[in-house]
Amino acid sequence: MQTNYTSTDDCIVALATPYAESAIAVIRASGDHCISYADRLFSRPGAIATADGNRAHVGYLLHPDSRERIDQVVCTVYRAPASYTGQDSVEVSCHGSLSVIQACLEAFRAAGFRPAGPGEFTLRAFLAGKLGLTQAEAVAELVRARTRTASTLALGRLSGRLERRIEAIKQSLLRVLAGVEIQLDYPEEDTGEVPHDIASLIRARDDVAALADTYRTGALYQDGVLVALAGATNAGKSSLFNALLREDRSIVSDVHGTTRDYIEASVDVGGVPVKLVDTAGLRDVDEQVEGEGIRRSGQIIARSAAVVYLVDATAGVSTGDEQNLASFAPDKPVVKVWNKVDLLPVDHAVPEGYIRSSVETGEGITGILDALFSRISGGAAALTGDETVVDSARQHDLLRRAAEALERTIASVHDGMPADIVAVDLQDAVGALGEITGEVSTDDVLETMFGGFCVGK
């Protein structure tokens, strides 16, 4: 049974230029109603909706809910069939900073656009017959090349272990599904009313969700992580924060000025968008052992993917520092920084596990960033090799689809929905897992065909 959920005329959006700092970035969107959807993102109501094809309009891109301005942009409208995909399309040229790009994409998503899959624009162009003779030939050639790559990737990446695990989950679900289908197709057999095997469903959902959670890197780059900057008052948190902001790689300072609770900024760490939170506005943890300050600080640290912990080298590791470090969850990645070394003799001893640094002179900042990157990316070294890890976006998406479908299945069973409805979601889950292990489906065909292109092309 074939299952796929990607439509070929819903609204999709993707960055067409590389996700990197540049003067201008181009965001491309396509799909039925795409122009009226995009109108909701534009500062001049109706300007886009009524625009002629192939016309550019200057204005502000707004978040559709908050109506907050994100950036001044040029929005070009293409009307079907005169567009790359043959559908109504919109291209937005915005300023090329990572935060602007992210905010723009987020706005599109909030307005109902779905992030495009790899090669999806070209697929649409192809299906619309927009690719002519030479292009079609080029596609065919590309396809063949990409297929080999794609299958090598899909199969090669898929370690035997992962495949076996997914296959085992799939088999357990197939047994549940077969039970449902037999009841549906043989209503008169004396099998009686067999209850749904809810325990198997829950186990499968947990397994699938756990597998999906092993996928880190992709999500890391796409969604970024939260990193807390912690330490005693005089350890130099604010200085480090500002130093990072002064660096070229800092994007924008996004200060929640009204509450002055804490300061956060987005920083690019090895390509990962990191939301850095300075707890400077909070009362120092070592002064107030209990209370609101600790609670908030604790919350931020608990939510963070990693902590950068600064110690004032001239004061040494205090009891407060020791208490703080001990209070973190045992598996919390911590980058320990031995700051202010410029105030000490060059040959003084640095405690084990600390990075020698001086925010003042800039010494060690690269080291801090490198250490931070390796902690948040859960670098290869962090893996013991025994884990089954999902490392492709496609696998992860399919696992998530399976997990969501199982969630719906369980809910349907719980709500007493009829078996044919339960079967819809169960089939979806089985289909998604089947696609991971390489069973042929319509989806696979198209995926294999166009998956080799980069997103947005």
């Binding site: 005329d9 299906l127 017959g129 065919a140 197709d185 209503p187 819809v424």
Partner: protein
């Protein structure tokens, strides 16, 4: 030309094909071995059931006969799977076999432009190319010419009946098999094979002890199969349920060597889903009982059908094991069960129009294609008839997609995948099951039937009234919101126990409220009297039910429809007639072979052929598109 069309065979496929072509004004000749066997039910005395009931209603919505035939001759009606959701609920009726045959014969006899002749077709004639059929030759040497030929030979082609050590050449017990066409087809280059199916013994009603069985009644409420009937008023008979036991199984085990299935006499593949009792005993040794439905074969006969224990054991063994079953201890056998083995053609040699790829204007339908079941045969017969007629009209082919009808699934499966065992429809074969509901067949297909010219105006107008009323009801449900005032009215007493539930929904439209799994249309009906009456007439409950199901399952259907739309796009990338797969560089050898063999009509179909690789589909898409530009 003697005729526009010739139909070989008068079974369920032949009837639909012949009726459809003659209805469209084409002079059609139905040649059958025995005029007294038109519309004969060779096996179980029932029409419909899971997915099959949907197909009967699809046939009716397209303008076919089967629905009207069974409505007029049923002796029990039940909706199966009532508790398991709308998509898998299916109407099933016990038929009065003789009455069904009589009505089927009367129907074809009285049809304008339809001619009947009793003879056996043994050969086909061709034009000088040898690749276009021009007529038929009969056993008695009669030659008839026609522009199109529809072949529906059922189990008769080279048929052989087995009862234990006994065998005879027959298509049904004591009805002669047909020979000759098997050689003609083989000569054309058809890949052919043997299939096997079986039927149980019939026993005399008076010899059964019904006190030892459970009586199974039909539904009081009969929903007609045919959309042209508003009600069915027929006598009702009960069925009975009993079970085999260890002793039954022991009798069978002890005599297994005498079964033609296990002694090697039968070589054809039988259906896994409908095994004989000896098969069940061998394959499920742990089961200590198997269910049997005892079904009446008609109002005017004592014969009862033993559904669940088809067998080709020797007659003495059949008698012995049947007598071990509660209620059947003294059963008098009137006809033995038997197996029948017959020639079928690999249906992947057909287009989805049921036309043979190897021979122009030759259409093949029914059990000849390796299917099983009256409904599967009728569905193919109708598609063959429609497309043969369209060939005569010079009109483009008529193919139903997998998303439109079970008949679409049926034809696509057969011609794309072929079949290794008698093909039976299941709801699980349809990926778009939720939209293929039995109650919505008319909304899916009636318009098509009308456009094909298979519905008279009056019937079409009735359909339009239903379609429009359903649309109006939905609109009304959208517009009307539940208000607090509704609870003060006199009608509030009609809320039964649902008042608390309903109160949670104040302010919402009735349409939204209906999506609550715990509420039904009946629960909100009192709020809007228009839901009961339209234009002074009571709205039939069946229409309301259709609205209710449409609304309730809209979300789920939307999810499936997304898939359908998506799938449709590659389905719509057509592969041109005579497309040269050999000229496509980059196809793998295996895929090229399969593509040449199946000759898919579009890329969607190509993608479902087993053994054709994804990368090859991509290459194919690219070259088909290139050809077009």
């Amino acid at each position: 030309m003697d005729f526009d069309a010739i139909v070989i065979g008068g079974g369920h496929a032949g009837i639909e094909a012949a009726m459809c072509m003659s209805r469209l004004g084409f002079e059609t000749m139905m040649v059958t071995q025995n005029l007294d066997c038109i519309g004969k039910m060779s096996c179980n005395p029932a029409v419909g059931g899971l997915a099959k009931g949907n197909m009967v209603r699809e046939i009716d919505a397209l303008g076919g006969e089967m629905g009207r035939l069974i409505d007029a001759t049923m002796i029990q009606f039940r909706v199966l799977n009532r508790s398991r959701g709308p998509a898998v609920q299916a109407p099933r009726a016990q038929a009065d076999k003789k009455a069904y045959e009589v009505l089927a014969k009367k129907t074809v006899e009285r049809q304008d432009h339809l001619h009947l002749y009793m003879d056996t077709v043994v050969d086909l004639t061709f034009d000088s190319s040898g690749r276009t059929v021009t007529g038929v030759v009969t056993q008695r040497g009669k030659r008839m010419s026609a522009k199109v030929v529809v072949l529906t030979t059922g189990t008769f082609l080279n048929g052989k009946v087995f009862i234990g050590e006994y065998s005879e050449t027959a298509g049904r017990l004591a009805e002669p098999a047909a020979f000759g066409l098997d050689r003609t087809l083989a000569g054309l280059g058809f890949r052919m094979g043997r299939m096997k199916t079986g039927t149980p013994a019939r026993v005399a009603r008076w010899s059964l002890d019904f006190d030892k069985m459970e009586e199974q009644f039909g539904d009081d409420d009969v929903v007609p199969f045919s959309f042209s009937h508003t009600s069915v008023n027929r006598p009702k008979l009960s069925c009975y349920i009993t079970f085999t036991n260890r002793q039954t199984h022991r009798v069978l085990e002890e005599n297994m060597a005498r079964s033609p299935l296990y002694s090697g006499l039968i070589v054809g593949s039988g259906p896994r889903y409908c095994p004989s009792i000896e098969d069940k005993v061998v394959k499920f040794p742990d089961k200590d009982r198997h269910q049997i439905f005892i079904e009446p074969e008609g109002l005017d006969t004592e014969e009862m059908y033993l559904n669940g224990i088809s067998s080709s054991m020797p007659e003495d063994v059949q008698e012995a094991f049947i007598h071990t079953i509660p209620g059947l201890e003294h059963a008098e056998l009137m006809r033995p069960g038997y197996a029948v083995e017959y020639d079928y053609i690999d249906p992947s040699q057909l287009y989805p129009t049921m036309e043979a790829k190897l021979c122009e204007n030759l259409f093949i339908a029914g059990q000849t294609n390796g299917s099983s079941g009256y409904e599967e045969a009728a569905g193919q017969g109708l598609i063959a008839g429609i497309n043969a007629a369209r060939r005569l009209q010079g009109a483009p082919p008529f193919v139903l997609s997998r998303a439109e009808a079970y008949i679409g699934v049926l034809c696509d499966d057969l011609v794309t995948l072929g079949t290794k065992e008698p093909y039976r429809m299941f709801t699980s074969r349809a990926e778009h099951r939720l939209v293929l509901r039995a109650d919505s067949c008319d909304m899916r297909l009636f318009e098509k039937g009308y456009e094909l010219g298979l519905h008279p105006e009056a019937r079409y107008e009735a359909f339009c009234r239903k379609r429009d009323t359903i649309a109006e009801i939905k609109e009304l449900l959208q517009k009307r919101h539940l208000s607090q005032n509704d609870f003060d009215s006199d009608a509030a007493s009609a809320m039964n126990g649902k008042k608390l539930l309903l109160e949670r929904h104040v302010g919402k439209s009735l349409y939204q409220i209906l999506k609550d799994p715990q509420l039904s249309l009946a629960d909100v009906q009192y709020v809007a009297p228009e839901l009961v009456e339209a234009n002074g007439e009571i709205i039939p409950g069946e229409w309301l039910r259709q609205v209710e199901l449409d609304v309730k399952y809209e979300g789920y259907v939307a999810r499936q429809e997304k898939q359908i739309l998506r799938m449709d796009k590659i389905e719509r990338i057509r592969i041109p007639d005579g497309f040269d797969f050999d000229a496509v560089t980059g196809l793998s050898t295996e895929s090229r072979e399969k593509l040449n063999q199946i000759r898919p009509l579009n890329v969607g179909q190509a993608s479902r052929i087993s053994g054709v690789r994804n990368s090859d589909i991509a290459v194919l898409m690219a070259s088909v598109q290139r050809r077009r530009s």
